[in-house]
C-alpha cells in the first residue's frame, strides 16, 4: 500500500506543478492578430483543427476573450531550445506572446527569432522583421534546429515518467508478494497480455524474451499517449509524424540487427526460385524490409490518431457551424451525440493502434529471428 501512496503523492505533486503555472497566461493580455478569438466559420474551424493537430511551443489549455476584447490564454510556457548559427539558444516560449505569424521577435545572442506556423525561424543578419513572399514563405529567415520541449515532448516526458512510476512500483511489489495489489493488479494483466498475446506468439518461445522489454515499452507508450490525446489537455503526440517515424525506425533497427542468416538469405538470395528471378525478388524484399514495413507502421499510427482527432473536433464543430440550420440546441445535441459516439470508438482505436503497432513490430522481429530449418 505504501508504494501506491507514494505514487499518489507524486501524482498530486505533478498536478500541483501543472496547475500552479496556469496563472502565467493572465499576464499576457495583448490581442493577437492571427488568433481570431471566436471560431465561427467553416474556414476558421478548419484552421483551428489543423492548428490543434500540430505540435505547439506553448501548453495552452484554453483561450478566451475578456470583456475588454483582449485575448487570454490559460496554460503554461515551455522551454525553447534551439541550435542556431551561434550555438545553443534557450528561452521560454512565453516570449513569443502566443504569436504564430512572425511578428513577435525574440533576441538572443544578437540573433533574432520569430515563430511562423509553429516553426521557429532565425532572421538573417540585419533584418529586423520577417518579410514574406506571396505564398507566405519567409524570405529573409531560415528554420533552425529546434530541440524545444514542445507540447509533444512534454507529453512524451510526462508519459515516460508515468510509465516509470507505475511499472517500477509494480516491480517493487513483487519483492514482497506474489500477487500485486492496487494499481499493480490492473497493470499486471496488461503486461501479461503483451507478453502472451503479442510477443510470444509472434516471435516464438525461443527468442521472445529478448524483445519483450521493447514491445512492452512501445505498447504502453503508444497506448497512454493515444489515451492522453483523447483528454481535453489536447496532446496529439502519436499524431506527430516525427514521433511515429522515430518509433517505426526503432522497430526497423531492431529487426534489421537481429535478423539471422536465414532472414538475410531469404531476403537477398531467395532459395527455391529460378536464379534470374532472385535479384528481382531481392529488390522487392529489400524495399519491403527497409521502406514498406516501417512506412506502413509510421503512417498507420499517425493517420489513425490524426484522423481521430480531426473527426472528433469536426463533430464538436457541428455545434458552431450548423447553428443556423438546426438551432443552437439541435446543433449542440447532434454534436454531443456524434462526438460522444466517436470518442468511444476512439478509445477503442487508441488501444487498437497501440496493439497493432506492437503486434506488427513483434511480427517483423519474429520474421527476422525465425529458424528456417524447414528447408
Amino acid at each position: 500500500m505504501k508504494v501506491t501512496q507514494h505514487s499518489f503523492k507524486f501524482l498530486v505533486l505533478v498536478a500541483a506543478l501543472f496547475f500552479g503555472t496556469l496563472a502565467y497566461g493572465q499576464h499576457h493580455e495583448e490581442k493577437h492578430q492571427n488568433d481570431g478569438g471566436e471560431v465561427n466559420t467553416n474556414e476558421e474551424v478548419n484552421e483551428y483543427i489543423l492548428h490543434h493537430i500540430k505540435d505547439s511551443h506553448d501548453f495552452t489549455l484554453f483561450s478566451y476573450t475578456n470583456d475588454a476584447g483582449e485575448r487570454k490564454h490559460v496554460g503554461f510556457p515551455l522551454p525553447v531550445i534551439l541550435w542556431t548559427s551561434e550555438g545553443l539558444v534557450t528561452f521560454m516560449s512565453s516570449e513569443f506572446h502566443h504569436n504564430d505569424d512572425g511578428h513577435a521577435i525574440v533576441e538572443r545572442k544578437g540573433l533574432k527569432f520569430a515563430k511562423i506556423h509553429g516553426k521557429i525561424y532565425e532572421l538573417e543578419q540585419g533584418a529586423t522583421r520577417v518579410k514574406f513572399d506571396e505564398d507566405h514563405h519567409a524570405t529573409n529567415a531560415h528554420k533552425v534546429l529546434d530541440f524545444s520541449i514542445t507540447k509533444s515532448v512534454f507529453g512524451i516526458l510526462l508519459v515516460g515518467i508515468l510509465m516509470i512510476v507505475a511499472f517500477t512500483s509494480l516491480a517493487r511489489q513483487y519483492r514482497k508478494k506474489a500477487i500485486p495489489t492496487g494499481l499493480g493488479r490492473v497493470l499486471e494483466p496488461l503486461v501479461l497480455y503483451v507478453r502472451d498475446e503479442i510477443a510470444r506468439p509472434n516471435i516464438g518461445d525461443k527468442y521472445y524474451r529478448r524483445f519483450t522489454g521493447y514491445l512492452l515499452t512501445v505498447f504502453f507508450f503508444i497506448w497512454v499517449l493515444n489515451l492522453l490525446g483523447l483528454t481535453p489537455i489536447g496532446f496529439n503526440v502519436t499524431g506527430q509524424i516525427a514521433v511515429t517515424a522515430a518509433l517505426a525506425i526503432f522497430t526497423l533497427i531492431i529487426y534489421t540487427f537481429s535478423g539471422n542468416k536465414g532472414y538475410w538469405g531469404h531476403m537477398l538470395w531467395m532459395p527455391g526460385v529460378p536464379v534470374l528471378i532472385r535479384p528481382v525478388l531481392a529488390i522487392i524484399e529489400l524495399a519491403g524490409a527497409f521502406l514498406i514495413k516501417p512506412f506502413s507502421l509510421l503512417v498507420r499510427l499517425f493517420a489513425n490518431i490524426s484522423a481521430g482527432h480531426i473527426v472528433v473536433m469536426s463533430l464538436i464543430a457541428i455545434m458552431v457551424v450548423m447553428k443556423n440550420e438546426l438551432t443552437a440546441g439541435g446543433a449542440t445535441a447532434l454534436s454531443f451525440v456524434l462526438a460522444m459516439f466517436i470518442t468511444l470508438i476512439e478509445v477503442l482505436v487508441a488501444f487498437l493502434q497501440a496493439y497493432i503497432f506492437t503486434m506488427l513490430s513483434a511480427l517483423f522481429i519474429g520474421m527476422a529471428v525465425a529458424d528456417h530449418d524447414h528447408h
Binding site: 500540430k54 505540435d55 516553426k119 534546429l145 529546434d146 530541440f147 524545444s148 520541449i149 514542445t150 509533444s152 515532448v153 512524451i156 516526458l157 515516460g160 510509465m163 516509470i164 511499472f167 517500477t168 509494480l170 516491480a171 517493487r172 513483487y174 519483492r175 506474489a178 499486471e188 503486461v191 501479461l192 507478453r195 524474451r209 519483450t212 522489454g213 521493447y214 512492452l216 515499452t217 507508450f221 506527430q240 509524424i241 516525427a242 514521433v243 517515424a245 522515430a246 518509433l247 525506425i249 526503432f250
Partner: protein, 166 residues
Amino acid sequence: METLLNDFSIGLFVMQTVIFLVLIFIMVKFAWKPIMNSLNDREEGIQNALDAAENAKLEMQNLQADNEKLLKAARAEREAMLKDARDMKNKMIEDAKGEAQAEASKLIAQAQESIESEKKAAIADLKSQVANLSLEIAEKVVKEELSNKGKQEKLVESLLGEATLN
C-alpha cells in the same frame, strides 16, 4: 505530402528518439526485467505446485491400486486357506472313514478267522469226544457182549455167516 514533410520536425524526431531510448533503458532495467522475472518465477511456482499435486494424485492412485491388489491377494489367500481347510477336513474324514473301514474289515476278518479256528477246534474236540464216546460205548458194548459166551459164539457165527467165503 508537402505539408506532411513540412510538419516533420527534426527536433521532435531527435527528442523522441533520445527520450524513448532512455525510457526503454530505464523501463527494461527497473521495470520489465524484475516484473518478467517475478512473473516467470510465479508461473514456475504454480507449475511446480500443479505438478506436485498431479504427482500426489498419481501416487495416491498407485497406493489405492496397491491396496486394492493387497486386498484382492488377502481375499484370495483367505479363499485358498478356506478351501485347503475344507479339503483337509474332507480328506481327514475320508481317511478316517477308510481307516475305520479297513480296521473293521480287519476285525471282521480276524473274527471270522478266530470263529473258523474255534469252529475247527470245536469240531476236532467234538470229533475226539465222539470217538472217545463211541470207543467207550463200544468197549462197554464189547465188554457186555463178551461177558456172555453164548452170545459171543452166536455173534461169531452170524459174522461168519455173513462173511461167506467165496
